[in-house]
Symmetry: D2
Subunit: 284 residues, 4 copies
């Protein structure tokens, strides 16, 4: 079992940042395993992910914030610390299509996704059997047109009770309120079944079929208030031809959705994703 | 050298079409090399491409239309006959970016593109050296804002004089008039530097960069009056990351554009593309 | 539900084959839905797949062989008829790795794989839970070094009892005897975790890692007596980099294996695969 | 025009390396633009690429070695410094196939490849026209079976006279001697027309066709004494089907070869490639 810490940070670009962070960590005897950085030349922004072994690291993590504060403040850093040993708590929202849910649960069970799943929330009963199979709690909450607010309150109460860190919308077909989105900013991952920004909105496969595209796509992104416009985490495509009927698009697309979503979730869990300017940096 | 004929046809779907065509060809001792068909279930349309060896084919091609007329009429066929031995005449329009032009000329010279290139037309002098290298006639025609009509008349006169069969817009940055488009319907191939319908219109790489997509694309399509909305012939994509600046997108995209455009041109030349319902069937 | 018949055939290439088959089918009022053919120019071989609607088809399928015999005999055809309504019976062999099994079972349950699964056979107990989840019979048969023969006899008895049509080796780590292979010729589909012929044999990911390749692959093929040398049905690859440790290769490879194997299985079920000269034609 | 320096280094992994290098550069007021590192966990090796702006860098590059020596020595570093302003001198070896040569020359001329090309060497006259077009010196040197040694001496004399930094074998069909290879260790880039290690050696497309693979590949690698076994820089693949004859494989493969080779050359020029353990790290 890995026992590492990950520091993700961004700040205005300037000289000496790499040295400042490397020296700080060295002071406490850190063995750096990965250090990756990125500069956005236009925005003059510096972004970094550094991961180090906690073995022999002499600074207790509960004291990290205090010790790092002077550096962070001097360089106007926004930063976040994560421990690999602490599994984040992921909630899954799902409606009727179950392929993404089945895929996530299998990866969770096989140890590929290093997280806890305290709860699956759904506005349908259809996928309860999958939750049962993998012994994950499942909660049905009806979302009716007239009582959306109420449903969301129930959802939020459960998320709060379960101390959920982030949410995956595994083909969840309901729109979430701005209040909800704001509360989980950059912590709600959606899978959209098109190569965004193409075919944003409803029925992308139908529209892809009608338009006669030669590739179909899937996009995983953080959800923002503007529909299908949040920071893109991952995308991929699959070749189709005139021989593929609409149903074939939907089947081939399902495989894409599973892979694209699972990659995004894995990277989020591994603290590889940094959001800025409505884009993501995915440190590999 | 291949000596074959290709028949491309579409008609309302019904029983007996394959037999009717196969029997017709067999009457004249045709040796069918490829026979490929497609049904559009929704539109109840039958589309077919059949290619046969002309060696020992007993029907002179100049008599084909008359002989085939009864079958075509009975089944309400739209059809077109092409001879592999007759190289189609391709004009290339280009502005300043020369990568697609250079690529097409190299493929033409190496024998990969089985066509003639009687003329390259440009609104800039920049690419004349390439035309000279490959010994292809080059004509500069200024396209000013106030004299677009006049420029187009000159272009059309040249195309007519050179008996051009189809036109490739190899990053040609001017919009063509409806009259021009109508005259060369389904015979003008454009390369658009995005994965359409994403980023149709101007500056797709800039917008792809700004949107933070993880793949860039290129699309080759027949030009229609609606901008970037014509039948798509081919598309492909290339992976990018946050490390790629706008310039990298443009460079990586250039490689995509060359390949996607050259495939579309090759398929068009080989009579593999059938257009219907603003889509293409590409018989492989 | 589709109610169609599929005819797969191969024979020496000659004139009139398309017409002969189309006319035969038309005699019995067949509505051809797909007709796809291929010529191997070197071997002078004609291969064809034709699918037609059984609605209004006037020849009972039990009489097909007798009616088709004269044509088949005249043209020295090898042929096979399949009915889409009759689900083939697929056995799955598995050892410890369960990702391919889990994937196949999910696709089976979701209706994507149009088959029956009467039995899962394994030399380990590890995957029984998956069989139970999807309510598919599971049989553990120990395969010890000294009693391989005996184990195989038990396997064959079960396959016979369950009237199994074809077998999928979903990461089954035992070698099958020539007798076994011969009995299920072109009916045993294996997934090999490399881009064959690279890294045939044992531990392909280890060797790919050591060799420093930039892409990893997976190959689905029919099993023959020569290890990893049977007719390839499908292959695909995934990009890796120096950042990927051996474990990452194994994880990324698992996704490839699932997709490549499931495509091959689906095409086999849909009667799209024709084997000749140790290759496959996959009619799409 | 970029004015940067790149430091590429490898050494036994240990604590404090990032800090040591960052501090060293900061001492001289370096503005780090990119810093990328990699650890090989098995070999306990640390590899790094760091690029900084030379504007305001207070250490003259001619004094770099002396100033850096203490750090390098303390950590047993192997290192290399490159200046982006100094274009490396690339020789191209070619035989008859000219697609890779044409591609490299176009990219050179368009400014995509930041290098000089003082000489093209060939054992055939066929590609002289391309050299003339792009105004690059071309030297024909016959390579006969009996006088290989002599030919190589002439080649080496020219390479020496032209102060060539590295060599690209753009489909050069002659084997180079160990002495030659040793002299340009990790400085000779070859393109092999298969997905290595599959189909190493002669006629890979023929063998791929015969084996019935579903993807063809191309591999760019540094040349070592063991045929087609050197460190792989880049690989890619392209989908084929049973419809593709051998000639189609060769055509589709040519496009792959061009792209894979040009990427490898570009990365080599940009000092992104580090070789160790017969593998490459390509810092992106």
């Amino acid at each position: 079992m890995k026992n590492t810490a990950v520091l993700l940070l961004s700040c205005p670009d300037q000289k000496g940042l790499v040295a400042a962070i490397a020296n700080f960590l060295l002071t406490y005897n850190a063995n750096i395993l990965h250090a990756d950085q990125h500069q956005d030349a236009e925005l003059k922004l510096f972004l970094m992910r550094v991961e180090w072994d906690l073995h022999n690291f002499t600074l207790p993590l509960e004291d990290f914030a205090a010790a790092f504060a002077p550096i962070a403040s001097r360089h106007q850093m926004t930063w976040r610390l994560a421990e690999s040993a602490k599994k984040p708590r992921m909630a899954i929202f799902v409606s009727r299509f179950d392929h993404c849910l089945a895929d996530l649960l299998y990866r969770y069970q096989s140890g590929e996704l290093h997280c806890e799943i305290p709860i699956i929330l759904s506005n349908h009963e259809d996928t309860r059997w999958l939750a049962d199979t993998y012994r994950v709690p499942f909660q049905y909450i009806a979302v009716s047109k007239d009582a959306k607010d109420e449903a969301e309150k129930m959802q939020m109460a459960i998320l709060h009770r379960e101390q959920v860190d982030f949410i995956v919308l595994a083909r969840y077909m309901q729109v979430l309120s701005p209040r909800f989105l704001h509360h989980y900013e950059n912590r709600i991952i959606n899978i959209h079944h098109s190569f965004l920004p193409a075919f944003h909105g409803a029925k992308p496969y139908h529209r892809a079929f009608e338009r006669g595209v030669k590739l179909i796509g899937a996009t995983s992104h953080y959800v923002t208030e503007v529909l299908d416009d949040g920071p893109i985490i991952e995308q991929d495509v699959s070749r189709i031809s005139h021989r593929d009927a609409l149903d074939d698009l939907i089947h081939k697309g399902a495989d894409l959705e599973k892979i694209v979503l699972s990659r995004a979730v894995k990277w989020h869990i591994d603290n590889r994703v940094l959001v800025y300017a409505n884009k993501t940096v995915v440190f590999d």
